[in-house]
């Protein structure tokens, strides 16, 4: 109950901020941070709970974005339909990747997901309808009344998506599904032997994780009014979506949120004040530092401090 009040407060606060006179740039940056909250949370459903490392975040994200572009160009679909479409197509892709877990684990699964990125990217590069390698300019549609600018509206939508994603992750974690996924992470054979439906659970986790990543990607073309394969399928989405839960802590749904807010904000500040390259370096260095020194992330550090008292 407490959680739902908190979630409602976050959504209302986001909408309130979007309607207030806060500086436009805030929304421009906060949109990206919230987008990473969704990506990190989605990654954690498969990577954190079930222990299957997914390097393919960029593929799901970009396929969500490209689905939105196709729906927009072909039917002039509104944003909500674009997001639903992106989630659906990326969810299907997630299901396909889930079938790979039948035979592949550990690094083999991780490398297979990298392959998914490059194959999808090549397909988009060669698809003229969505602009091919040079990309496609998009004209934003008319504004929906209460909002002053399009960025403010997208920010509110992304805040809502973030709350939905976290709620899904929280549900998965606290229900029997989460217990089953944790059993898979600890020992897949033992889980299967004790009657956990491992394949079903893995397929579920892959599909949900993929769908959420697709939903996060769908508003991106409208946000940039542009789409292009090389930046949409960039591996830095994958490394960020992996680093954020690792930094925040993978065991609890709040971990990826902490990681994304922390790392996402640092990234925004670094991108503006120094450069975009340093921003990827920050992610890499923090990721390595955390996996080496604080294996359970910020959450683990908190717990250690709490125990000492």
């Amino acid at each position: 109950m407490k959680y739902w009040i908190g979630a409602a407060v976050v959504v209302i606060a986001a909408f309130g901020a979007a309607l207030s006179g806060v500086n436009e740039y805030f929304f421009y940056a906060a949109f990206v941070v919230l987008q990473f909250v969704v990506l990190a949370t989605a990654w954690n459903i498969l990577g954190g709970y079930a222990g299957y490392v997914n390097f393919g975040t960029a593929a799901f994200f970009a396929i969500g974005a490209y689905t939105a572009v196709v729906l927009f160009k072909w039917l002039g679909a509104p944003l909500a339909v674009q997001i639903a479409g992106g989630a659906l197509v990326s969810g299907l892709l997630g299901f396909g990747v889930g079938l790979l877990t039948l035979r592949l684990r550990g690094i083999f699964f991780a490398i297979a997901t990298v392959a998914v990125i490059f194959i999808c990217e090549t397909l988009m590069v060669n698809w003229r309808y969505v602009g091919g390698a040079t990309g496609l300019q998009l004209l934003r549609p008319e504004l929906i009344p209460p909002f002053d600018t399009y960025t403010r509206m997208l920010f509110s939508v992304m805040a809502l998506l973030a709350v939905i994603a976290v709620s899904v992750a929280r549900y998965v974690q606290t229900s029997w599904i989460g217990r089953g996924l944790r059993a898979i992470r600890d020992s897949e054979e033992a889980a299967e032997a004790s009657g956990v439906p491992t394949l079903k659970l893995k397929l579920f986790a892959c599909t949900v994780s993929g769908a959420l990543m697709g939903a996060a990607g769908a508003p991106m073309p409208m946000y940039l009014s542009f789409i292009e394969p090389a930046s949409s399928f960039n591996l830095s989405y994958s490394v960020s979506a992996l680093a954020m839960p690792m930094i925040g802590g993978t065991a609890h749904w709040i971990g990826p949120v902490i990681g994304a807010l922390l790392l996402g904000s640092v990234q925004q500040i670094v991108t503006v004040t120094i450069s975009n390259e340093i921003n990827v370096l920050v992610v890499g260095v923090l990721l390595v530092l955390f996996v080496v020194l604080a294996p359970d992330g910020v959450l683990g550090l908190f717990r250690k401090v709490a125990r000492k008292r």
Binding site: G106, I111, F118, I119, E121, L242, E277, I278, L287, V292
Partner: protein, 291 residues
């Protein structure tokens, strides 16, 4: 595209040269991942680091291949350090640390990549030598000398490593570690020291592979991303840890890529390695010559 026998022959020829080159850039990974089971996703990044090292050394007027050889001991030490660190922080703690070990190498790849961007910028870099830029003309065919050089070095590297692993004492010990680590421990050998040595060799070889990379074409820092697909494709297709298999798998990839390049064009080429990788992983994860 009109199909012709001549073009196919040319694609095959180029594919064989390219294939040997792919085998050479994968052979380090074949040792570190194939034999030692280290999830070395940063292998291509280390190789690109080798290319830039070659670029720096070669700018003093040294031949790129000599530069690569000069860098080998340095990279050997780097490899020993990386493995030691990986062992102490992840491998020692068992399977629980496997996910974090994978994340570690992924992070390491990005650190190397951005480090190179900061040091050299995003522009492409090339090496200079007499054999870069000219071609051997055989009747109607033109074979660039740089491909022939890479081909030669690749063959020497592959055979040297195959001989080392099957004939020398340490080489056999490395193979033994891959086969049965507890048994080796019972024989009184220290598997960690052997693995450390092997990882050092694998990384040292990457320096020379990096030199070939910059001989074959211009190099840019983000190039490692594409080579994740090519190197892992070759190693998995070969069957983990098989050296002759690596050569065969490299040839398969090289010919496949060269044919796609000719038939469909350059924009489809990156998908070949990744597609083949996905296919092998889905159908026969133990590879062609699996152990």
């Amino acid at each position: 595209m009109i199909f012709s026998f001549d073009l196919l022959l040319e694609a095959l020829l180029f594919g064989v040269l390219l294939g040997c080159f792919y085998a050479a850039v994968s052979i380090g990974l074949s040792v570190s991942f194939g034999l030692l089971d280290v999830p070395h996703v940063a292998h291509p990044a280390v190789m690109v680091l080798g290319s830039y090292g070659t670029f720096v050394v070669a700018s003093y007027g040294v031949d790129p291949i000599v530069a690569g050889v000069v860098l080998m001991p340095l990279f050997f030490v780097l490899g020993v350090v990386i493995y030691r660190f990986y062992y102490e922080t992840f491998e020692k703690r068992g399977t629980d640390a496997a996910v974090r070990g994978l994340a570690f190498f992924f992070g390491l790849a990005f650190i190397i990549e951005v480090g190179l961007i900061l040091a050299f910028g995003v522009d492409q870099r090339m090496a200079e030598a007499a054999y870069i830029g000219s071609s051997l003309e055989l009747g109607d065919y033109r074979i660039p000398y740089r491909m022939l050089v890479a081909f030669g070095v690749a063959l020497v590297l592959t055979f040297a490593l195959t001989l080392y692993l099957s004939k020398t004492f340490t080489g056999r010990a490395i193979k033994a570690v891959a086969q049965d680590e507890p048994a080796l421990r019972l024989m009184g050998a220290n598997p960690v020291r052997i693995k450390q040595w092997a990882f050092g060799i694998a990384t040292g070889v990457s320096a020379l592979a990096g030199a070939m990379l910059i001989i074959v074409g211009p190099v840019e820092p983000a190039m490692d991303r594409l080579y994740i697909g090519r190197t892992f494709c070759v190693v998995v297709l070969a069957g983990l840890g098989s050296m002759t298999g690596t050569l065969a798998a490299g040839l398969i990839l090289g010919i496949a890529e060269s044919i796609v390049l000719m038939m469909l064009g350059a924009s489809w080429a990156p998908a070949v390695a990744f597609g083949l990788l996905l296919l092998v992983l889905g159908i026969r994860p133990q590879g062609l010559f699996g152990r």
